[in-house]
């Protein structure tokens, strides 16, 4: 295995894949799809590994591949589902959307691009410009999508809180 990838790649995967998997999970809501997305992003990155300057740049690179690959998958959903059949290695019986929390369920109500903006801004803590770089879009688009996405997310979670409070009072 050591000869399969360039120096340092395996260590990078070991160190950073837990954080990257969480980002993938917030984008997909599904453990199996998140793992597939992460693996795909890591494989794409491995081909450019020797030219990435430092580990921080590598993390940002994988994260960008993660979000752009996810957007691409959304466009080619049917192709993706066919390919998944070729890789039955995913763990089964893991938590899926059924077990997901309320923030995750609220995220699912957002369009894919808006969801990615919210995850990168609010979860990863990127600036508007960094988010635009990661998504390959204009900063204006990030500004408006973040504003609307966060407002929608708060609205959904507040609604959810109200319902829970009402049910709890019965």
């Amino acid at each position: 295995m050591g000869r399969e990838f360039d120096d340092g790649f395996a260590e990078f995967v070991t160190q950073w894949s837990p954080a990257l998997l969480r980002v993938a999970f917030l984008l997909t809501s599904d453990r199996g799809e998140a793992e597939d997305l992460l693996q795909t992003a890591l494989l794409k990155t491995s081909r450019h590994w020797g030219r990435l300057n430092d580990r921080e740049a590598a993390y940002a690179y994988v994260r960008r591949v993660l979000v752009t690959t996810h957007t691409s998958w959304r466009r080619r959903r049917r192709v993706h589902e066919v390919l998944l059949d070729q890789f039955p290695d995913h763990p089964t019986g893991e938590p899926t959307t059924i077990d997901a929390g309320r923030a995750l369920q609220a995220l699912e109500q957002l369009p894919p691009r808006m969801r990615a903006v919210v995850v990168l801004r609010c979860y990863e803590g990127l600036t508007e410009a960094e988010t635009a770089d990661a998504l390959g879009c204009s900063v204006g688009s990030v500004k408006s999508q973040a504003s609307r996405g966060l407002a929608r997310l708060r609205e959904l979670l507040d609604q959810s809180n109200t319902i829970l409070a009402t049910e709890g009072a019965r």
Partner: protein, 261 residues
């Protein structure tokens, strides 16, 4: 719900995914080997097709279409999506009528012609101009009503070009500059013919002063942003985003805009 609550909720839910599979590296190795076998198989097939076709260019077409989907290399040598225009720069929309005695074209020809693509630059888009107040911009009918959005910058109001797909064509208004940035959307082009899908080479040809941002542009993947001077407007620049050397976002903005970066 405040920002901290929201952040906490996202972190809590992200943790629901648990840890990556312990054999993640083994899985990566298997997928890489699988891809290599697929590529080797495709290459063999493609060579066979080329030999059988004896010069008919179907072989290269099949090779390009056998990319294999999302689990494969993101930078195939031939793209089957997002057609890239040639590097030749289309002439601006102004087509001078012939001055000779040639009869005017018949009206039916004009009716059948496709409407011209909206042009972004050098001063704005149509009657919408950089520097306009919100009222002036809305009066053009080219933008949606502005929305107030909390921001740490001077740009507290944003709008979108009417007709733009959701999330595209954003227009930002600065408290100090007026309309400060106008985003293109697919179908909009610059006077020099640059649009979504244009190649990096075409942009460099149209705008020799293009500066690719460091570190905002990654030379390996030819992905990231650059800035080009706007011919005919020394106060403005084009902010252009590339993905794999192809334009995926385009903004006309004041060089001194105070909305971001």
């Amino acid at each position: 719900m405040n920002d901290l609550d929201l952040r906490t909720a996202l972190h809590r839910d992200a943790d629901l995914v648990g840890e990556p599979s312990p054999d993640l590296l083994d899985q990566l190795v298997r997928r890489r080997q699988h891809q290599r076998r697929q590529r080797a198989g495709m290459l063999t097939s493609a060579v066979a097709v080329v030999v059988i076709a004896a010069g008919i260019p179907i072989g290269t077409s099949l090779l390009a279409r056998s990319d294999g989907g999302p689990a494969t290399d993101p930078t195939p040598t031939v793209s089957t999506e997002a057609p890239t225009p040639s590097t030749a720069t289309p002439a601006p929309a102004t087509t001078a009528p012939p001055s000779s005695a040639v009869p005017a074209p018949t009206p039916t020809a004009a009716v059948e012609a496709e409407p011209a693509a909206p042009v972004l630059g050098p001063d704005g888009l149509g009657s919408l101009r950089l520097g306009m107040t919100r009222d002036q911009a809305e009066a053009t009918g080219l933008v949606e009503p502005f929305r107030n959005e909390p921001s740490s910058s001077q740009c507290l109001w944003s709008s979108a070009l009417t007709g733009a797909p959701a999330g595209e064509g954003t227009v930002l208004h600065s408290e100090t500059l007026g309309v400060a940035t106008i985003d293109a959307y697919p179908g909009v082009q610059t006077p020099e013919g640059i649009t979504f899908g244009s190649s990096l080479a075409a942009v460099e040809s149209a705008y020799p002063g293009l500066v690719l941002h460091d570190p905002g542009f990654d030379q390996n993947s030819r992905t990231g942003r650059g800035y080009a001077p706007v011919p005919g407007n020394s106060e403005a620049v084009y902010r252009i985003v590339f993905d794999d050397a192809t334009v995926v976002a385009l903004t006309l903005q004041y060089g001194r805009q105070d909305c971001y970066e």
